[in-house]
């Protein structure tokens, strides 16, 4: 089977996955007691008739499966209706915020990949030396430190004391302006730390495992230069297992953004999600959860494709 056929097959599998995720996103929110009308009525005493009117206005009086189909048929064309709390379209609400989260996420991922993989390779090649042991301690710290705490410490240290980074997001600046990118560095590092630590350790253990394999000895016995043995044979094969985890890290980065965005008052979808959970803004919550779910599904699909590209045994 060629790589093209693998991609096609893998792509088809995502369709039922996407449907499953959409059902779960939609269903989950309906297991929570109370609806937006209850939220409104806790501040104002409304006639039950008015309450019913509001419910029917938003379709909340319909059976759940009808609500799902209504929602889904619109969601496919990215129409998530209006946000309940602001009356703007959900698309506009999310459209404002999503680019910021994508900026932070990609910076965090970049930080992760660029530091974790070379460090992992280095630690594996010099395994059981002092450098390896130091990296082990840092990795443990990186995994163990909670994001919200690390974020606060970084703000305290680099923004408050050293004044290197702004504490609040710049206003009126474009997404890719230097001020915005500078402001994004700390949250990106905060999110990336855990992922970096995990991936570095994984790269190290994966490479240590590969280094012990017979084919490495064969490659050396063939008289290949050590650099070729490591780069062409060992690192490539070690990456096979790391790529899969890197994709899962993408999911962690996106979901981790929820906490970090609140800590940094970062204007991304994570903070939007928290705000709208507090006000029970169903359409926005559903759209956000769906977007995150779809994102994870596609990241995994991409990982599988890269996996198949790297390891021919998967393709066949």
């Amino acid at each position: 089977m060629s790589l093209q056929r693998f991609i096609l097959k893998r792509g088809l599998i995502t369709i039922p996955l996407l449907i499953g995720v959409s059902i779960m996103t939609f269903g989950m929110i309906h297991f929570i007691p109370g609806d937006p009308v209850d939220f409104i009525t806790q501040f104002a005493d409304l006639d039950p008739e008015v309450e019913d009117e509001i419910r029917s206005q938003y379709g909340l009086d319909q059976p759940v499966y009808i609500q799902y189909f209504n929602w889904m048929s619109d969601a496919i064309i990215l129409d998530f209706g209006n946000a309940i709390t602001t009356n703007r379209t959900v698309g506009a609400e999310i459209g404002d915020r999503l680019p910021y989260t994508l900026l932070m996420g990609s910076m965090a991922f970049l930080v992760t990949v660029v530091t974790a993989i070379p460090l992992g390779i280095y630690a594996a090649y010099h395994r059981n030396t002092r450098i390896d042991q130091v990296s082990r301690v840092f990795a443990l710290l990186g995994v163990a430190l909670p994001n919200f705490w690390l974020g606060l410490i970084l703000i305290l240290l680099f923004s408050s004391y050293l004044g290197l980074f702004p504490v609040l997001p710049p206003t009126g600046e474009g997404l890719l302006s230097w001020d915005m990118i500078r402001y994004t560095i700390l949250p990106a590092v905060t999110i990336g730390t855990g992922a970096t630590a995990l991936m570095m350790r994984l790269m190290r253990s994966s490479m240590v495992e590969e280094l012990d394999k017979d084919y490495v000895r064969t490659a050396r016995a063939k008289g290949l230069p050590e650099k070729t043995v490591i780069r062409k044979h060992v690192v490539r094969n070690s990456l096979i297992s790391v790529v899969t985890v890197a994709a899962i890290q993408v999911a962690f980065i996106i979901s981790g953004s929820v906490v970090v965005e609140v800590v940094f008052s970062y204007p991304g979808i994570g903070r939007l999600l928290v705000e709208r959970v507090q006000t029970r803004d169903f359409p926005v919550i559903q759209a956000l959860v769906l977007i995150i779910g779809v994102f994870v599904i596609f990241a995994n699909m991409l990982a599988d494709i890269i996996y198949a590209y790297l390891d021919p045994r998967i393709r066949y």
Binding site: Y215, T218, A221, P225, K232, P312
Partner: protein
């Protein structure tokens, strides 16, 4: 000058449990084009010896002393870069398990031609052509098509052939084959061995064949070294070794081979097990398991001597038989008490049956 001369090779592994003496003052020679067998139980130091030749012993192992002269040049003195030029080019290695010896992520063809490109400086196209030629020479059908196949698309026998093609790719003068047929079934084994034999005669390539299978040795080798606990205990031509074994360990190995028509209920084995190489027994290493051991064997370490004269040799001529047993130095009181019977009815060459009495 022989093609390969190993002299007083000592390989040590510094483990937490102690120093493992993997080979002890090991000396032997291989002539150009010779098929040389190395036999012994697991852990006798066979594979360590071959890895030492390639300087591929890894931590915590070290070659402590000795010389490995290849074409008169001591490999242990070479710089890394000089040694790398020899690996795969002049000395090539065939590993035991072809499946794991191949990198699953690259095509078989690429794994053969990368060595060709590195050593012979050929470009992509020419290297590919040569690799296909080599694949054909080891009997892989449709070699141009199979060139782009991955190792998992090859059967076990084909993988082993591919590994042999890899070893042959730069026309080495010496091939070290570490149990090349152990993982294969007997029909494939016979094919692979006759293939190796053909290559050897056609290109005048010497082979050091490492095995624990005496049948393979009888079929394939011209001269044999029997190893025990990192020492050579007997070195002889195949005929001498099979018809006239001179060391009790060789005798034990041969009587352990089960034979058709044998009415014994139990398979014969050598009692006991090889000493761990951290603390060798005093005197002869084999004495705790030797049925002929006497008091003197616990005190004196037998040197490897000519079995005729009892004299230790500086350099062993290829037709001489040497053994490391006190019998041959005249120190043993009662002597070795066994007889060798050769069954003529079997047509197989050198199928010497040995029975204890």
């Amino acid at each position: 000058m022989a093609l390969l001369e190993v002299e007083d090779l000592n390989v040590r592994f510094y483990t937490e449990d102690g120093v493992v003496k993997a080979t002890n003052d090991l000396s032997y020679q291989i002539e150009a084009g010779e098929r040389f067998g190395v036999v012994g139980e697991s852990g006798a130091g066979k594979s360590v010896t071959s890895l030492a030749l390639m300087r591929l012993i890894e931590e915590p192992g070290v070659v402590e002393s000795g010389e490995i002269r290849f074409k008169g040049q001591n490999l242990l003195d070479l710089e890394y870069e000089e040694m790398r030029q020899i690996r795969g080019n002049e000395i090539a290695m065939i590993f035991q398990d072809a499946e794991t010896a191949l990198n699953p992520a690259y095509t078989v063809g690429e794994q053969i031609s990368e060595a060709i490109r590195v050593h012979l400086g050929l470009n992509e196209e020419a290297a590919k052509e040569r690799a296909i030629e080599k694949l054909e020479s080891v009997g892989i059908p449709d070699a141009p098509q199979r060139y782009t196949d991955y190792p998992h698309q090859f059967s076990g026998g084909m993988q082993q052939r591919a590994v042999i093609a890899m070893a042959l790719s730069c026309d080495p003068d010496l091939i070290i084959a570490d149990e090349p047929t152990t993982a294969l079934d007997v029909t494939i084994e016979a094919q692979i061995l006759s293939l190796l034999e053909d290559i050897c005669t056609e290109t005048d390539t010497a082979i050091q064949l490492i095995t624990h299978d005496l049948g393979v040795v009888a079929e394939f080798c011209e001269r044999v070294m029997v190893m025990y606990a990192g020492h050579p205990v007997e070195m002889a031509t195949v005929e001498d070794l099979y018809y006239n074994p001179q060391h009790p360990y060789t005798v034990g190995l041969m009587s352990s081979i089960p034979r058709i028509g044998d009415n014994r209920d139990r398979l014969q084995t050598i009692p006991g097990r090889m000493p761990d190489l951290i603390e060798n027994p005093p005197g002869c290493n084999f004495h705790p398991r030797c049925p002929y051991a006497e008091e003197v064997c616990t005190r004196m370490e037998p040197p490897l001597v000519d079995v005729e004269t009892g004299v230790e040799l500086e350099e062993v001529a290829s037709d001489q038989q040497t053994a490391a047993c006190l019998e041959h130095t005249g120190d043993l009181q009662k002597g070795l008490d066994y007889t060798v019977t050769v069954r003529e009815e079997t047509s197989m060459e050198a199928d010497g049956g040995v029975t204890d009495e």
